[in-house]
Symmetry: C2
Subunit: 195 residues, 2 copies
């Protein structure tokens, strides 16, 4: 695998998450995310592994055609998209699709969710890629994008000849995992006592 | 309609939301929530209007069997559920199912979303019902519960003889609207500049 700049899943130098395994267990239970979802995502991995570029084209098309979302990739001084930033994020986003399917939900995974959260929030945005794009992504859009990231995935999950029930199971698991991760990315936005 | 204690949709004495119609429009667009979803929810209204008690039984069963969720309805001093609180919330929750199907997405609706958010957060929890339950609902569970509130709804939407495609459309619209509302309820948890 080619090294992806800024990709830090498993990096032992990341600060550990304040969220512990027991917290993740109750979060999973609240999302109805169970072992059958873990298994369905493992299956989805083989379905999507050669489709990540096509999936990213759909997502980047959506963001690129939504001025209020594209703004987060733009330099506020010029109003222009920062192409180096778009490209760096795209590489990690493709890897994230595969990681979502193969996640171990361990402390390293939790620590990287925190890091991804910081990269959306003003406490860490732009630092990884040393860019001068908008300083903060509004939390509401991180959560709202769960819907397009869920809905647009279904046709890709259906492309490899699985039964409707299998596609449904993979899609449900995908949606739960994406919401779970989006929730974890909100941590830097909220007082620890309230999160 | 019998008056429901604490129900304030349309109450002109509620403070107006800081979120404006333009903000709601970009939020809807980010969720892929469109006019077809509004129409599907209108259709869902007639499907679920005589099923709200059965739906609430499912949801209350889930919360009641999840100690980390039931805790929000319990008095921290005694560890016991506050039954007056559970019952008062249940009445509003049933009405909320119908309101979700018929929402106007206007300023009054936005103001009431804010009020519902405050009732989950330590800034307003327990006040409406004058109870002494846990002082704050952790934001992550408000968002996580979108999944059970979505998934458990589908069989109820399928009970009145609509085609699979119609059920799918009603269910997709329901899920988008529930996530949209859960996002709006997070507003008191987050600094206005970050939300």
């Amino acid at each position: 695998m080619t090294a992806i700049p800024g990709y830090r899943l498993g990096d032992p130098s990341l600060p550990p998450s304040a969220l512990k395994a027991a917290d993740l267990a109750t979060l999973k239970a609240s999302l109805l995310f169970g072992e059958e979802d873990v298994a369905a995502l493992r299956k989805a991995h083989d379905v999507v592994k050669d489709q990540t570029d096509a999936i990213l084209d759909v997502w980047y098309g959506f963001v690129g055609s939504s001025p209020h979302l594209l703004a987060y990739f733009c330099d506020p001084k010029t109003g222009q998209p920062v192409s180096a930033y778009l490209e760096a994020v795209r590489k990690r986003f493709g890897q994230w699709i595969l990681d979502t399917c193969r996640a171990d939900y361990d402390d390293a995974w939790l620590a990287y969710q925190d890091e991804i959260g910081r990269r959306h929030h003003r406490s860490g945005k732009n630092k990884t890629d040393k860019v001068s794009a908008a300083p903060n992504i509004a939390m509401r859009y991180i959560l709202a994008l769960v819907m397009p990231i869920s809905i647009t995935m279904k046709p890709f999950l259906a492309k490899k000849g699985h039964s409707p029930a299998e596609v449904e199971a993979m899609h449900a698991a995908w949606t739960k995992s994406v919401l779970m991760q989006a929730i974890l990315w909100c941590r830097p936005y909220v007082h620890p006592d309230d999160f």
